[in-house]
Amino acid sequence: MSRQGFEGDPIEQLRRADPLNRLEVPNDTSGAKARALFQEVTSMDVMEQEPIRRQRAWARPVAFAASAVAVVAMAVGAYAVFGQNETPEEIVVGAALGGGAQMCIQYEDAILLGLDVAFDGTLVSVETIPGSGDIDFPQNLATFEVHEWFKGGEGDTITLDAGILVDDGSIALVGTQLEMGERYLISGEDGFVWACGYSYSYDTEVAQHWAELFGG
């Protein structure tokens, strides 16, 4: 039979008729939804047998913690020991994050070295973006004026999602809750601040350690 009015390879026509062309699908995992799922999944006990069942997949409170600091959660820190001073200076670290945010990793210089950015900077603004659509949790985008880059980045400022670190109800992970105008040593990856052991209120000893570590 002829194909009056239709030219071309039928397989190519089928390709063009992909119903997904009419949808919005992600091209990568940089979106909040993908990040939240990653955090949710990797927070699961690997022995857990029950599959994920959701009523409203992205509206659960745990998703807040997940988005808040996808990796802050992992970085919540363990024991970060710097310098040779025999008198430990204790930095109070909160663990009351809830959900997957309680999953922490022991501090290692090698891990810090592998993060995207590390810098000495002052918090100059925080913009809270309310959740919308399926993402029912806010982002807290913290902008820092950078005094010194230890790794990554360029320019005078950087904006990272600081999640619960700037939330009024949170317990601080860097010695104190992030506050406007205060100076910090911040590391981060994938657009998130890493906390506990990986970010601090500014301290000269830690700054010196970071400078040596990053070869600055």
Partner: protein, 203 residues
């Protein structure tokens, strides 16, 4: 000396961190394609979200079983296929499709409807293997892994499915696309992994 403190129970080991990073690499590679695969076949975006989440939860639990080479992609597709089938095996088959799809305008290409009419005329197995190849961009060896059949069998089935689709296409080719009334209907494969999903009609 500075020290941060947190309960021992709240820490994970470097090995656990390595596991997370290993999963991250697989997740980054597979996530967009699995989201697309599931979205094409789920009845709603809500279903799609749930199914995608189950796929990656399964992957997390079975991380050590996932091939570390190029076979990891079909491995994810295989899990997605089974998860999709299981999901609809127990689900309400009368569920309506997502409003978001309904809001989409019909394609300007009048051939769109004809293509889906031709696709609907195929047997479910032909539809599945064809769409895995054309829409999900899997080749015969990958499809073989997804379907659990020998690569040569996959190749033969794919070839035959293409020929059958071309024949259906020819039959519809006698119609002028400009004369086709667009109904804004999208049809996707109604059978996955041998499970009848019901009429998967998106309007």
């Amino acid at each position: 000396m500075l020290r941060t403190q947190i309960g021992v129970s709240d820490t994970i080991s470097a090995a656990q961190f390595e596991r997370v990073e290993r999963f991250r690499a697989l997740y980054d590679a597979a996530y967009p394609r699995i989201v697309a695969y599931v979205a094409r076949r789920a009845r709603s975006m809500s279903d799609s979200d749930d199914i995608v989440a189950e796929v990656f939860a399964t992957a997390w639990r079975r991380l050590d079983d996932i091939p570390t080479d190029e076979r990891s992609t079909p491995w994810f597709f295989g899990v997605a296929r089974r998860t999709l089938a299981n999901h609809y095996r127990s689900a309400d088959r009368r569920s309506r499709l997502h409003d978001r799809l309904r809001e989409q305008p019909a394609g300007s290409d009048g051939g769109f409807e004809l293509v889906h009419e031709a696709l609907d005329r195929l047997k479910p197995d032909d539809r599945e293997i064809l769409t895995l190849n054309v829409w999900d961009d899997l080749d015969s060896p990958d499809i073989a892994m997804v379907l659990g059949i020998p690569p040569t069998t996959a190749g033969v089935r794919l070839h035959r499915a293409k020929k059958r689709f071309a024949r259906e296409w020819e039959r519809r080719g006698i119609r002028n696309p400009n004369q086709v009334k667009s109904e804004g209907v999208i049809r996707t494969p109604g059978v996955v992994n041998g499970t009848e999903l019901g009429e998967v009609t998106r309007e």
